[in-house]
């Protein structure tokens, strides 16, 4: 039984349900992710489902938003702790809403629900990491009140043919 209770209600005249994903949702998530990211990653999502879908009894969540019974969006996140000394916090690492359902606040409702999940787990902050070129998602997360956090993301090219930065 998923820990996340389904929440129902009209969002801008759209009947929306947010619920924990089940094994039967794999195809729908692959479809949504392919549509929103432009790249099909079935093997990746099979792995995510094996890790995040079986119980959802806390700390790992894959939530789906249904509009009139059809999956229209999803969010995936988990509680992470003590990475370079960081106390437990929620992490959101995937979010997608079908193009047909954009601007109906479905992303906001998904985030609201995963925030509730994290609160029940006892954490009081949520992080994510988005490409600085991904202005759509950056603007969305900003609109929720998220700001630059206390940790700085760093990266290095380990391609031997490329020089790294200072």
């Amino acid at each position: 039984m998923p820990q996340t209770d389904a929440i129902k209600g009209p969002v801008d005249r759209v009947e929306l349900t947010v619920r924990a994903a089940g094994p039967d949702d794999l195809e729908a998530i692959i479809r949504l992710d392919t549509e929103t990211s432009g790249r099909a990653k079935p093997a990746y999502w099979q792995g995510i489902f094996q890790t995040y879908v079986p119980d959802q009894k806390g700390e790992r969540y894959l939530l789906i938003a249904d509009v009139e019974g059809v999956a229209a969006g999803f969010v995936v996140g988990e509680v992470r702790a003590w990475e370079f000394g960081s106390p437990p916090c929620g992490w959101v690492f995937a979010l997608g809403v079908s193009n047909a359902h954009r601007e109906h606040h479905i992303g906001s409702r998904l985030m609201e629900e995963i925030f509730n999940c994290f609160r029940r787990d006892g954490v009081n902050s949520v992080r994510t990491s988005v490409s600085r070129l991904d202005t759509l998602n950056l603007s969305f997360f900003r609109s929720l009140g998220m700001t630059a956090g206390p940790y700085v993301q760093l990266e290095i090219s380990i391609d031997e043919d490329q020089a790294s930065g200072p």
């Binding site: 603007s139 900003r142 609109s143 630059a148 930065g165």
Partner: protein, 159 residues
């Protein structure tokens, strides 16, 4: 990055107008609300009108009106009208002494990194998001009151 006065004034004006897209505010009203020079703001407003972010309404009851979608227009869209670039103050001149050396180029890449982050930050904050944050800072309800509403409220006890 150190922004020019014109950029700051433009941000104040656009954000004040975007709070209530139906409202028409005179340049003098905006200038008074933010304690800035009407003359300077008038120049800024002309540039905002030319860029299409503000609509100038003539005649009795006229003024300036926001023109656009606050959920789509970002701080960068306003800043870019007035700033040629977003160079950080950590700016090692590309043509200056030592610029061609390994250390010079490495120092320039640090400045570039800061500039990229500045751009990404400004591009990610829409006017609507900034206004939501401002309302929280003010402790005001999310439906923030416009300058005009505030001025009308302040006059009511006298009438």
């Amino acid at each position: 990055m150190k922004i020019q006065k014109s950029t700051t004034f433009a941000l104040f004006a656009v954000l004040e107008l975007a709070r209530d897209p139906e409202a028409q505010l005179s340049t003098a009203e905006i200038a008074e609300a933010y304690d800035i020079s009407v003359h300077h703001l008038a120049k800024v407003m002309r540039q905002l009108v030319r860029a299409g972010l503000v609509q100038s309404v003539r005649g009795a009851g006229g003024g300036n009106r926001f023109n656009g979608n606050p959920n789509r227009i970002t701080l960068y869209d306003v800043v870019a009208l007035f700033e040629d670039n977003l160079a950080s103050e950590f700016d090692v001149a590309e043509a200056g002494p030592g610029a061609g050396s390994g250390i010079g180029r490495a120092l320039q890449s640090v400045g570039d990194e800061i500039e990229d982050l500045t751009r990404a930050t400004l591009q990610s904050i829409t006017l609507a998001t900034l206004l939501k944050h401002a309302a929280k800072v003010d402790g005001a309800p999310s439906e923030a009151r416009s300058v005009r509403t505030t001025l009308q409220d302040s006059l009511e006890p006298l009438t």
